[in-house]
């Protein structure tokens, strides 16, 4: 029995649609569970490293930017923001600089191989109680082209990417809500 090409294509399209409709609720559930967290970004701790203030500020501001872009969190708050006091499901992002090499834009332009600006930080996502939910050591470098302040931007991008790719635990309020739903089902 022969099947014509259009029929085959139609069958494929229908299969794809069915797969998507089955997958969509799963994706949505995953998104809603993660978006219920809010995050507060604290100021960058330079630790024992002699980091320029401009780099500290650049990392902090870039982190806020990049985390907002991911849309992974309900709210992205700044250090000291009083609004954070009223948020139940809040994670705190702490950033500590571990290594820093200043580099030089001119050296990079002249030699290509030398003068890289390198930054390594330890990022921790903690709950209000101090429990560490996620911990990563992340790099941000400028090796060939661009100004030195590109390194904090790259670093923040990598931090946001690492957080997005990790699976965060469900916030307490989401767990409570799910339990309540289960009770309702049982009563019925």
């Amino acid at each position: 029995m022969k099947t014509s090409k259009p029929t085959l294509l139609l069958a494929l399209a229908a299969a794809a649609l069915v797969t998507l409709s089955v997958m969509k609720p799963v994706i949505l559930r995953a998104e809603t569970s993660s978006t219920q967290w809010s995050v507060q970004v604290t100021k960058v701790d330079s630790g024992a490293v002699n980091l320029e203030p401009s780099f500290q500020v650049a990392i902090y501001e870039s982190l806020l930017d990049e985390l907002n872009k991911t849309k992974h969190f309900k709210q992205v708050l700044r250090d000291g923001d009083r609004e954070a006091n009223g948020i139940a499901d809040l994670l705190i992002l702490k950033t500590t600089v571990e290594r820093y090499s200043a580099g030089s834009e001119t050296k990079r332009a002249v030699t290509t191989v030398a003068g890289a600006t390198k930054l390594t930080v330890r990022s921790q996502l903690c709950t209000r109680g101090g429990k560490i939910v996620l911990e990563r050591t992340i790099n941000g470098n400028v090796r060939f082209m661009g100004s030195n302040l590109r390194a904090p931007h790259n670093l923040a991008h990598n931090v946001a990417k690492a957080i997005k790719q990790s699976s965060l635990p469900e916030p307490a309020s989401a767990v409570a809500q799910r339990d309540a739903e289960v009770v309702v089902v049982e009563v019925r």
Binding site: E52, V57, A58, Y60, D79, Y100, A109, S147
Partner: protein, 189 residues
Amino acid sequence: MNSIKTIKTRTKSQKLLCTAAFLILLTGTISAAFAKDGTAAANSQVSIRATHLLGFEKAKDNSTGTLTIAGDALEFQKIGKPVSQVRIESIQDISVGDQSKQVGGLPMTLGKAAVPFGGGRAVSLFAHKKYDTVTLEYQDAQGGVHGAIFQLNKGQGETLRDDLLAKGARVTNGDNTKQSAAEVSSENK
């Protein structure tokens, strides 16, 4: 004779009066002028051409404009765009650094890449300029910490910092010395 004498004394007294009046007028004018200068100094606007690198309230990144201290506010305005400003009192920390940057941007980079036999690298040796960077930390109405970085011509960073400190900005770390990017090359392992 008596009448002539009285006329002479009158003219003398009139001259004295005239001189006194002139002196009073002169003093008044000078003091008024000085007072005007004083108020002008108090309300003076310090304007510096600067590039906003990142972080300042509602200003676009990497935009060049004018940084102005107007009254109790620090304003940044790109030509043809609305003014973005913060209160100077809300500034928690100011630090001045310097950095060396390649000039010419992307067109220059492409041009250098097009020069044969690596000639562009030689151009890079001379095509850089030193700038001052001013880093500000300030708080918004909600208490949230903001950071902003401006790039200024060499030597203007210190001036801006001093002006801001005079207007009520604070320095938390107490380190008023300029930090050079070249000095900071520590790599703690």
